[in-house]
């Protein structure tokens, strides 16, 4: 009897200590410094909110979630250090990452070696495949179609001009755009790039004007290159339909009049009028008060990604990496963007919204495109 209660007591002790000492660790490599530092605060808030909500409901398989945030410096070198420390020192169970393509490419070999499930939550140029990675944000196939279709049907555009920053994402997006435009019977009358930090678009704008296209699509890096291009286009009097892959709601708002009429396509727009989104916006406001950052296209997928990891662990019944990887394609997350399931060759079909910037800088939803398929991304993972 005494022995039995002793064993029982010991069991409880072990159990409690196991619970307290053994949280599920989720690594978040994020650009706290460098180019992504502008958007990083909203990422961290989205991650903290997701973890707090899940823990308030009792965690996952009886264990709480714990965040390990590491600075990737928005680039390859920083990402190497961040992934090394997350995978081999902090020994995280899973990683949810919103970061640049360079940072992801630097992190992937480390993830593969450490066998850690990675959910990448940034839109990107597509076709990045790893047995340990899932992606819940958009790829060119999902972004390009709404804008090009709109220009062709609404404005009867045939001749397109493409402008980008000279890096993987800029070139990847425009290569796909060119193929898509040509497959729809249009022509690309010009395609020009500036180095990634470049902000003097004078010569390219002259090329654009002499090519006299019906519509313009740009894919620059975010921040200064994007806004300088838009301002210089406006000051040169360019007023053809203008689709911009790099603009987000915050940038549009701060640019005010200069961004008016610019088209963008996104899987999340903060003005979405759905119960899930209203609830999410309220939760951010309640948790962070005056410091709350407006959530956007980059922070919301991160929030969804943490829920996806939690759901996969719940379904697998453990954090065993290969079981979680198998489960990730079977779970559906109901988030602010709607229901999302990463079952398309490690990517997800997404509802895309075509938005147009109004004169006060706010983004109005013009059209929505239900469950746009990501297409052939990683055929080796097709089931």
């Amino acid at each position: 009897m005494r022995l039995k209660s002793l064993v029982f007591g010991l069991g409880i002790c072990l159990n409690i200590s196991a619970y307290a000492a053994d949280p599920i660790k989720i690594g978040i490599p994020v650009g706290l410094s460098g180019a992504n530092s502008v958007v990083a605060p909203s990422m961290v808030q989205a991650a903290e909110l997701a973890v707090a909500e899940i823990n308030a409901k009792g965690g996952v398989i009886g264990r709480p979630l714990q965040l390990e945030i590491a600075d990737d410096g928005s680039g390859a070198q920083g990402a190497q250090r961040a992934y090394d420390s997350l995978v081999f020192q902090k020994e995280v169970d899973g990683i949810v990452a919103m970061e640049t393509t360079a940072a992801r490419n630097a992190g992937l070999p480390i993830v593969n070696r450490g066998r850690v499930p990675l959910i990448y939550t940034s839109f990107y140029e597509g076709r990045s495949c790893s047995p340990w990675m899932y992606i819940n944000a958009w790829v060119p196939e999902q972004q390009v179609e709404p804008i090009v279709d709109q220009f062709m049907s609404e404005y009867d555009a045939k001749k397109f001009f493409l402008i980008g920053s000279d890096y993987a994402f800029g070139r990847g997006m425009l290569k796909f755009t060119r193929e898509y435009v040509e497959s729809k019977g249009g022509t690309v009358v010009g395609e020009s790039y500036l180095p990634i930090e470049g902000s003097d678009w004078t010569a390219i704008i002259s090329q654009l004007r002499s090519a006299n296209p019906d519509a313009l699509i740009t894919s620059t890096s975010g921040g200064a290159p994007n806004v300088t291009l838009t301002r210089q286009l406006r000051s040169a009097g360019v007023d053809i339909p203008y689709g911009n892959y790099a603009i987000d709601e915050g940038t549009a708002k701060s640019m005010g009049g200069d961004a008016e009429g610019v088209y963008l396509a996104a899987s999340y727009i903060s003005s979405l009028d759905t119960p899930a989104n209203r609830e999410f916006l309220q939760a951010i406001k309640d948790k962070f008060g005056d410091d709350a950052e407006t959530p956007h296209e980059l922070s919301v997928p991160l929030y969804d990604g943490i829920y996806a990891y939690a759901a996969a662990v719940e379904k697998a019944g453990s954090t065993e990496p290969s079981a979680v990887i198998d489960a990730l394609s079977e779970v559906t997350v109901e988030g602010p963007r709607g229901a999302i399931k990463m079952d398309k060759q490690r990517h997800a079909a997404l509802t895309m919204y075509l938005g147009k910037v109004a004169s006060d800088g706010s983004v109005e939803v013009v059209k929505s495109f239900k469950n746009v398929d990501p297409g052939e991304q990683c055929p080796q993972f097709a089931d």
Partner: protein, 278 residues
Amino acid sequence: MGSVIFDILTTAGILFVVASGLMIILGVMKLLNFAHGAFLTAGGYAAYLTGAAGISPWFSVPLAGIVGIVFGLLVERTIIRPLYNRPLDAILATWGLGIVISQIFALTFGRGVQFAPSPLSGTIEVLGIEYSAYRLAVSAIAVLLAIALIALLSLTRFGLNARAVIVNENLARGLGIDSTRVRAITFGLGAGLACAAGALITPLLSVDPNMGLPWLVNSFMLVLISGVSFPSLLLASLVLGGTQVLISTFISPILGGMTIVVLAAMILRLNPKGFSRA
């Protein structure tokens, strides 16, 4: 084709405005001012604050110039003057100052991108070509500035003293010219020109803590090949800026981005004095 000519002229105008502050400091003080980029950034933020305060954007340039002169005089007195006999240390000090200034902007305004309103929007038609009104205005200002600076150096007492200091500082001092005062005024003037230039180019760009950096590199190249003379700086801006526009337009904007640096190196290789005797 016509718009390419306008591109060349306006690009040259912008380059001249941006580089003139650096040149006057280098000429009189023999000091490469590495804080030039930060001064340009300061002008950008001055334009942003002017816009945010609801003041007409036309005033942002003179306001930025005044702020720059006051700040320049202060920096000269506290940081540069004690280092006059240690020219290398003085250059390092301006470099450090540049880093400190841009970090202060990052802490105050954040790393994000800000905007200054443009005093002129849209295009006007000149010689049958629609062209950006503000770029043309900047070029006109550049020409006026060049005339004013040449007049300052060749028609005023300060100009005479400054030219004496440029040619031979010891001799000038021996003749009773207060070279310390000339240096102080020059640094103030250079900083003021840099800030005003920053405010002037901002409506075409956006403001962030590092906006001055790419301009710093191009300004150096221009000043290195032009020597200490405003007419030759104007010529250098026209030749290098023009080549940049031509290469960007007809070959590739990516190569265009490197044109000024590469061309400046080639010119210095062929003629170490650059354009200063041209």
